[in-house]
């Protein structure tokens, strides 16, 4: 236990946030890629690539911004649970629409 640190400079703060800054940059790159693929230069494969990019961005936020890997195992399990359930909801409903 040390005494409260004196307030650092902005650079000092950012030095403690290397992971967050990298995640931030990655998210902006992902956003840029989605805009390019979807708006600027759409192609037939765009949708699939965009969904993959979206999944990567979601993973980035969960892993680095929300620090899921540092959580206890049950919390980690919990954070994945929601997405699994969304997959069930969407997947099984669309199954109906595709087999009509």
């Amino acid at each position: 236990m040390s005494a409260p640190d004196t307030e650092p400079s902005l650079g000092g703060l950012l030095r403690h946030m290397r992971v967050a800054v990298a995640a931030f940059a990655a998210l902006l790159v992902g956003l840029g890629a989605i805009v390019v693929l979807g708006v600027v230069a759409p192609s037939s494969a765009s949708s699939v690539i965009m969904l993959v990019l979206l999944a990567a961005m979601v993973a980035t936020v969960l892993l680095f911004s929300m620090e899921v890997p540092q959580e206890p195992p049950l919390t980690r399990f919990f954070s994945g649970l929601g997405f699994a359930w969304v997959a069930i909801l969407v997947g099984m409903t669309l199954l109906d629409y595709f087999t009509r």
Partner: protein, 226 residues
Amino acid sequence: MTTARRMSASVAAPEGVGIEVAEQFADATQQRHAAQLGMWAWLLTELLLFAGLFLCAAVLHVTHPAAVARAARHLKVWIGAANTAVLICSSLTMTGAITASRHGWRRWMLRCLLATAALGTLFLLLKGFEYYQDYLEHMTPFLDRPYALAGEPATRLYIDLYFLTTALHALHLTTGVAILLGMTWIARKPRFLHRHQNWIEVYGLYWHFIDLIWIMVFTLIYVVPR
């Protein structure tokens, strides 16, 4: 446990940073764990809530692809993209606030919290501007006024879904900014970090998640169907 472990990984928890243990908890570790898990449970419900809307949009996309594409092309994708960037920035400032709070850097924490609130407000202003543009372009089918794509009924449903989804998200963000400002007001007191450091941690999860939801809204509603 969570934060304690996190801190030991980065820095030793400085003195004067901690939480006040509520009566029903045995110790601070248990309380932190409970608070984090509680927020995660809440976020789970938020995800499923929005998933219902995404599902409706997906079904419409499957059944009426052409109409959905036409409707999606009327959305202000550049404002949406700018807003996504704004929220990604706000996520960074929120992480800044969390980092500062862990080190007991109260001034940085307050600055970051205010920056986050400002970015959130900027998002809402842009959103309002976008709605106003929609209004001017007669893209508000639920209002009693002429609708630009009146001949194509299924587009109307997509636009309605867009409004419902973004309005629900904006409602979350408005609540978020209000809580953030209230918390900042309380956090200005010097002893705040002695007692409630985990408020910042827990709130940060919420903010990141609202950001996450928006990234999904932008991709799934604005861009993919185009």
